[in-house]
């Protein structure tokens, strides 16, 4: 493999990782502050994508579509937080898993009922479409570079939010000691709703950004959800830094696994068999990575023991 192709694949891995980070950040934030496992996070991703596709279809503006995705996902997040999720904070993980699984069923079939079974159309805006030539002669889609940019901006924004702002202080307080925030006179319900809506908005944004280069359809959220869980578990649940590192690790492992494993097997196997076996192993690679990390560090890379 040429160096240029290799660098391009690294970029692809980073881009995939950054996309996963947008999903994982909300998940890990919600777990860190409220101790909640939210399986319905993938549904919020889907809602973001559907909202963006609808608005883009009506107005033709990608910018408005992104705003719509943030708003719709945040609104849906706040709605389920107020009606369902807040009853789950003091439950065990089992109840949370089941209740949010039920929410997936409701959201998925509800969306199908509203939008039909066929995928929706959402395209990259003209000013972001097509490839650009990077130094070294690498041709790379501008839109993917934009996703990397947005993801890193969001990461920086989250770090700043948590380190610098009032709500960040409350979030950190909530992570370390839930009774303390009550003692500090903070309105916990409002804080929880805000954090949940923030996490939901990030998922919705991810859905809209990714919807433009993938398929906007019912069920699009669950595969990403599982990957996002892999990310936060590798990074250590509750840690934004862990989510970023985990996302990049998963993105790179998956992309490079897909590229390199078939090549490795083709050294000593027939091409079709090598490609097939390599692909099988590649789809298992991130789970092997996750199991390996957990066996070494049972609380993830940056998790609290």
């Amino acid at each position: 493999m040429s160096l240029i192709l290799f660098i391009e694949q690294i970029l692809n891995g980073v881009q995939f990782g950054v996309m996963l980070f947008l999903m994982a950040a909300g998940l890990t934030l919600i777990f860190g502050v409220m101790g909640l496992i939210n399986l319905a996070h993938g549904s919020l991703y889907m809602i973001g994508a559907f909202a963006a596709a609808s608005v883009a279809g009506l107005t033709g503006s990608f910018g408005l579509a992104l705003i719509a995705s943030l708003a719709a996902a945040a609104a849906a997040g706040a709605l389920i937080e107020l009606t369902v999720i807040r009853r789950l904070y003091d439950r065990d993980h089992l109840d949370q898993v089941l209740a949010t699984f039920a929410l997936i069923l409701i959201f998925s079939e509800g969306t199908r009922w509203a939008f039909g079974s066929f995928p929706l159309f959402l395209e990259i805006p003209p000013y972001l479409s097509g490839p650009v030539t990077l130094p070294g002669g690498i041709e790379y889609p501008l839109y993917r570079l934009a996703i990397i940019g947005v993801g890193l901006l969001v990461a920086a924004g989250l770090f700043a939010l948590i380190a610098r702002t009032r709500i960040g202080i409350q979030i950190r307080a909530g992570e370390s000691d839930r009774e303390m925030i009550a003692a500090l006179g903070i309105n916990i319900s409002a804080l929880y709703t805000t954090v949940f809506a923030l996490g939901a908005a990030l998922a919705g944004l991810a859905g809209a950004l990714i919807g433009a280069i993938q398929s906007v359809q019912v069920g699009m959220g669950e595969p990403v959800l599982i990957l996002a869980f892999v990310v936060i578990v590798i990074g250590g649940i509750g840690s934004i830094k862990g989510a970023l590192v985990g996302a990049l690790l998963v993105g790179l492992t998956d992309t490079l696994g897909r590229v390199l494993l078939p090549a490795v097997f083709s050294q000593f196997m027939a091409p079709q068999a090598a490609s097939s076996v390599g692909a099988s192993l590649a789809s298992m690679s991130i789970y092997i990575l996750m199991a390996g990390v957990l066996v070494m560090r049972p609380s993830g890379l940056f998790g609290k023991a």
Partner: protein, 377 residues
């Protein structure tokens, strides 16, 4: 118990409850969850044909398999054991067909496949009671290989998901392709990001790309491929280019060549009437799945007209005769009960606001599948 029973008595609709149906048809198809669009099209095409026939003696029981093999098996058991159906149909996916069909035909039922055509049922595993009205799974891929050869492609890159249908697709393509396969990549089933694969295509010496990525996978790939700036022509089977999917892909699909046994512009009266009536009744253009459902129902009706379903040999002979007007024009079964048919090359175009296909050539004429010789029947 039959809450889901959709009794259908031709144009009379609900009156079917009272009618003594002579033929009971069990339709197991995918109506909810992922991939529901395909099942809905097959069902709608099938019911349209039945309605147009005006027959009151065919009762159809429709059940949703949720695309789960175990549910499909369970429904088949129910239809055979409780509803005592004579004929079964409807399954979209090969893995579900493999779960249901061998058991159903072994119990003496007829099975008419409106979509899936796994090789195991076309070759050694063929069965007198199994008829495939759509295609053997390899057919459209073979046509793609033939087309790539016709346009003098010397090097091609192939891409398919890592599961049996994907591996069969590549095998089918290679069977008719005379150039070199310079890259062969199997992706994860359900994969949504193809950046790594597109990068490999870009750096390869291929002059064409063959891909088989059904459903949402194809949408993602086409969008990302168009955006990557790689200009190598794409060739694929019709599954990534049907009416439902094209609207979600948009401009990214324009001009792409794909192979299909059917298109809405095939010039015959049956097809013209089908396209018009389907659009009128359901408010959307029919897909190839709808055409397959429509043909399946018409095949069944033609057999019911000339034979009694309780006389299996006569009914089988009536099915084999395939004396019905197909949307594809001439239609005939080979010795293994799979179609012998033309497979066309289509190009994605835009008609007004709607993305659709037009036929630009014929890839294979009167094509039979490669497994027919293995079938001893």
């Amino acid at each position: 118990m039959n809450l889901k029973t959709l009794a259908m008595a031709g144009a009379l609709g609900m009156a079917a409850c009272a009618a003594q149906a002579e033929v009971k048809v069990g339709m197991i198809t995918t109506l909810s969850g992922g991939g529901a669009g395909l099942g809905i099209d097959v069902r709608d095409g099938f019911m349209l044909a039945l309605e147009q026939s005006g027959r009151t003696d065919i009762e159809v029981i429709i059940e949703d398999d949720q695309r789960k093999p175990d549910i499909a098996v369970q429904l088949a058991d129910k239809m055979i054991q409780s509803d005592k159906v004579d004929v079964m149909t409807g399954i979209i996916w090969s893995n579900l067909a493999m779960a249901v069909v061998p058991g159903a035909v072994a119990q003496g039922k007829f099975y008419l496949s409106p979509n899936a055509g796994p090789s195991a049922l076309a070759g050694k595993g063929c069965h007198p009671n199994y008829f495939n009205v759509a295609w053997q799974n390899d057919n459209l891929h073979e046509a793609a290989g033939a087309y790539a050869t016709d346009i003098n492609s010397t090097n091609t890159f192939v891409l398919a998901p890592n599961y049996p249908a994907g591996q069969d697709a590549v095998t089918g393509f290679k069977r008719t392709f005379r150039g070199n396969v310079v890259g062969e990549v199997y992706t994860q089933l359900g994969q949504t990001d193809y950046a790594a694969e597109i990068a490999r295509i870009r750096s390869s010496v291929a002059d064409t790309v063959f891909f088989f990525l059904p459903g949402g996978m194809g949408i993602s790939f086409l969008k990302q491929y168009a955006d990557s700036g790689v200009k190598k022509p794409l060739i694929g089977p019709a599954f990534s280019f049907d009416q439902g999917i094209l609207q979600a892909v948009g401009d990214a699909a324009l001009g792409v060549k794909n192979t299909s046994q059917w298109n809405k512009d095939i010039d015959n009266p049956t097809n013209a009437a089908f396209v018009a009536s389907f659009q009128e009744k359901y408010g959307r253009l029919p897909s190839l799945y709808a055409s397959q459902g429509f043909d399946t129902a018409n095949l069944l009706i033609s057999a019911v007209e000339s034979a009694d379903v309780n006389d299996p040999d006569a009914f089988r002979a009536a099915l084999e005769a395939a004396d019905f007007k197909s949307t594809r024009g001439d239609f005939a079964f080979g010795n293994n009960h799979h179609p012998i048919q033309n497979i066309y090359v289509r190009e994605v175009i835009k008609e007004g606001d709607v993305y659709t296909n037009k036929i630009v050539g014929t890839a294979l004429e009167n094509h039979a599948d490669a497994y027919a010789p293995e079938c001893r029947m």
